[in-house]
């Protein structure tokens, strides 16, 4: 079998001149990277033990217990918010919800690595990143409730709207980053996308543009192992972080359930961007603990034991173990957080339930910035049509 070399295709300097990668590579699996994978950057083991990493330690060297507690709080509140949204969907208050369960570390770690002037381009699942950016979580719910397609001002928090068309936001991020570079600013841009998205042509094109223009952008791929029902093997046969190299910039695989590692690696990548060193691909190796969305039924395509294995690597538990073993917390902290969590849940419920349906004339709003004769005409016809009912009713 020629696949031994293939399983670790990159690092061996061997092979013939003029050939990259493995010759004779049969199929290899990109999915189940063991925890001991030397390619996986990890700073906290699943047991919460802090392990050293020559390259990335420095990015979290000065982190204070308070900051660690902050990361923990972020993850707990994000998860609570997420659970609340899932519940609200079940109650019929939302039409759909895309849960981030299991991906809290990838999102909070990377989100907290960003600076205020950085710009974030999310998919539809980056509730934790939104949290870090200061977007009111209830604003995220409008599109899932069906009252809008995006309920926040992207420029208030430098957090772009959720994008549903898979992969397309990576190009927007790259363009934005090209603009940052033109402005001579030292901000950076980060684009989120999934393992499934890695197959889209747009993502490859964004790599090309980012490389050619040396754009200050970080491509942050949350490889949560699944694109709806498709495992990562349906998208790639080698680890995704390796994709970057062939476009001329570095790729890193980080333990996506290790908030510290995600923070460190993203900081490194954002710093590269700021320093004019161009794009970086970060693959956060994590797991979608829940269904794809509330419409999905994962029991049709995956085994429970897979999920169970990942439960042992839970990002929140991991940091809690670390905090506890380091004596960074006390009971009060957890109790307070629980209360805060409850309060958040309550607020989310209240806000959502009170969220009004949009005015029907909103259909015609903001179709154009400068107006359009046909929209005006149709709005007027619509108004007359609506009024005809009022008249009819009035006439009765």
């Amino acid at each position: 079998m020629e696949s031994t070399a293939a399983r670790k295709p990159r690092r061996s300097a061997g092979g013939k001149a003029g050939t990259t990668g493995t010759k004779r590579a049969g199929r290899t699996t990109a999915k189940k990277a063991p925890d001991t994978d030397p390619e996986l950057v990890q700073l906290l083991t699943p047991e919460g033990e802090r392990v050293q990493h020559a390259d990335y330690d420095k990015y979290v060297a000065g982190i204070t217990p308070e900051e660690l507690r902050g990361l923990y709080r972020d993850m707990v509140l994000t998860r609570r918010f997420d659970a609340e949204a899932t519940a609200l969907q079940r109650q019929g208050e939302l039409g759909l919800w895309a849960s981030l369960l299991g991906q809290e570390a990838a999102q909070i770690g990377s989100g907290r690595a960003t600076r205020e002037d950085d710009y974030v381009f999310p998919t539809y699942r980056e509730h934790g990143v939104a949290w870090c950016r200061g977007v009111d979580p209830t604003n995220l719910l409008g599109m899932f409730r069906g009252v809008n397609h995006g309920g926040w001002d992207p420029n208030s928090n430098n957090f772009h709207l959720y994008t549903i068309v898979i992969g397309s936001q990576t190009l927007h991020a790259t363009g934005y980053a090209m603009g940052v570079a033109k402005d001579g600013a030292d901000s950076a841009v980060i684009a989120y996308f999934g393992d499934g998205a890695s197959s889209q042509g747009d993502v490859a094109e964004s790599f090309t543009f980012a490389a050619v223009y040396n754009a200050p952008v970080v491509f942050f791929c949350q490889n949560n192992q699944w694109a709806i029902s498709e495992p990562t093997e349906k998208q790639t046969r080698v680890p995704l972080y390796q994709r970057a190299q062939g476009f001329g910039f570095p790729g890193v695989r980080v333990d996506g359930n290790d908030v510290l590692a995600c923070l460190a690696v993203t900081k490194w990548a954002l710093e590269r961007a700021r320093n004019g060193e161009g794009p970086t691909l970060v693959e956060a190796f994590t797991y979608r603990m829940g269904a794809h969305t509330t419409s999905d039924d994962p029991s049709r395509y995956r085994h429970d034991d897979e999920r169970a294995a990942w439960e042992a690597k839970d990002p929140i538990l991991r940091l809690r173990r670390h905090l506890e073993s380091a004596n960074h917390t006390d009971e009060g902290f957890f109790a307070e957080l629980e209360a805060e969590s409850e309060a958040l849940g309550k607020r989310v419920r209240e806000v959502v339930r009170a969220m009004p349906d949009p005015d029907r004339f909103a259909i015609f709003e903001n179709v154009y910035a400068d107006g359009h004769a046909l929209v005006d005409e149709e709005r007027a016809q619509f108004a007359a049509y609506q009024a005809s009912f009022a008249d009819a009713e009035g006439g009765k």
């Binding site: 039409g95 069906g146 197959s199 259909i363 179709v367």
Partner: protein
């Protein structure tokens, strides 16, 4: 059992199953069509029965799906590809328009591309953005493609059979909000032509023409109008390219009035083409201009507004009234 009551989604499933069974060259491809059976379960169980080599979960890349389907067709296969939702067909648009549609002509007829592109389309299911659109005009304008849309389970079954048998690329728009509607499907019937319209209700005062999800609505409209003493004829067009102008003309020569209903935006929609051509064909017959009821020139709205956006009983009746008022 030849005749059975089944949901529209199930009818397509059965039709795909029959095609996979009958012809080893038929393939089913798309995102999540395998184990999951598609997000609407239209391909449910097919991979289990026909294997991963016939029912193929693809990478998440629509251009790749259609582009490789073209290659497979060149090799002699007959791929039926699924686009997960209407709003996600656009990454494949280049392959569809510049390659799939034109390769037969480009080769002077030497190669054939029997590819079916299945697209669940239309609104009314309370979905998020990009999941409720009706882009059929964008395909009908393109020569080399055929565009059809069944309105009921029986047509879904038979039109899928015919689409797969066709040597031309067929864009097969499935009315997703009718997926769960049941109807009798006779799997031994002899179907009519794929591109022929059908009178689904006879009438004398006005013709309602629709396809896909709007046929049912038009039937409801006709029933409501009947209570008011008006006799509406309802035409299920079934095919958007070609359009069965002869059938529309025949109906309009009788009723002298035509209202076209579709979910797609009216502006540059199929109602425009129908209105233009029928007005030309029936200039001296028409008592009123052809009226159109459809979506507005605005993005498909958030779910809580979709009822305002979509044609409904009142809006179609309003158009009927306006037409009859001429």
């Amino acid at each position: 059992m030849a005749a059975e009551k089944m949901a529209l989604a199930k009818a397509i499933n059965e039709s795909l199953r029959r095609a996979l069974d009958a012809d080893p060259k038929v393939l089913v491809m798309g995102e999540d069509v395998g184990k999951l059976g598609g997000v609407f379960r239209v391909t449910d169980g097919l991979q289990k029965d026909f294997g991963e080599s016939r029912v193929i979960d693809t990478p998440l890349a629509e251009s790749g799906i259609v582009g490789t389907a073209i290659g497979l067709a060149l090799r002699g296969y007959r791929p039926v590809v699924e686009i997960q939702f209407d709003g996600f067909v656009f990454p494949a648009y280049d392959q569809i328009v510049t390659q799939l549609a034109k390769m037969h002509a480009r080769s002077l007829g030497k190669v054939k591309l029997p590819v079916v592109v299945r697209i669940p389309y239309g609104g009314g299911i309370g979905a998020v953005e990009h999941h409720s659109e009706s882009p059929e005009s964008l395909f009908a304008h393109v020569s080399g493609l055929k565009v059809v849309s069944p309105s009921n389970a029986s047509d879904a079954y038979w039109m899928m059979q015919q689409a797969i048998q066709s040597d031309d690329p067929v864009i097969f728009f499935e009315p997703k909000r009718r997926y769960w509607d049941k109807a009798e499907v006779n799997t031994e019937a002899i179907p009519g032509p794929l591109h022929g319209a059908r009178v689904v209700r006879e009438g004398t005062d006005l013709t309602l023409a629709a396809y896909g999800p709007m046929v049912k609505l038009c039937q409801e409209v006709a029933a409501a109008a009947a209570e008011e003493g008006r006799s509406l004829e309802v035409l299920d067009l079934r095919s958007v390219s070609p359009l069965d102008f002869d059938a529309i003309q025949a109906s309009v020569e009788k009723t002298r009035r035509l209202v076209v209903v579709h979910e797609a935006p009216v502006f540059f929609g199929s109602g425009a083409e129908i209105a233009a051509r029928i007005t030309e064909r029936c200039f001296y017959h028409l008592e009123a201009p052809v009226l159109r009821v459809g979506g507005y020139h605005a993005p498909y709205p958030p779910a809580r507004l979709e009822e305002e956006y979509l044609p409904d009983l009142d809006r179609v009746l309003d158009a009927v009234d306006r037409s009859l008022a001429y």
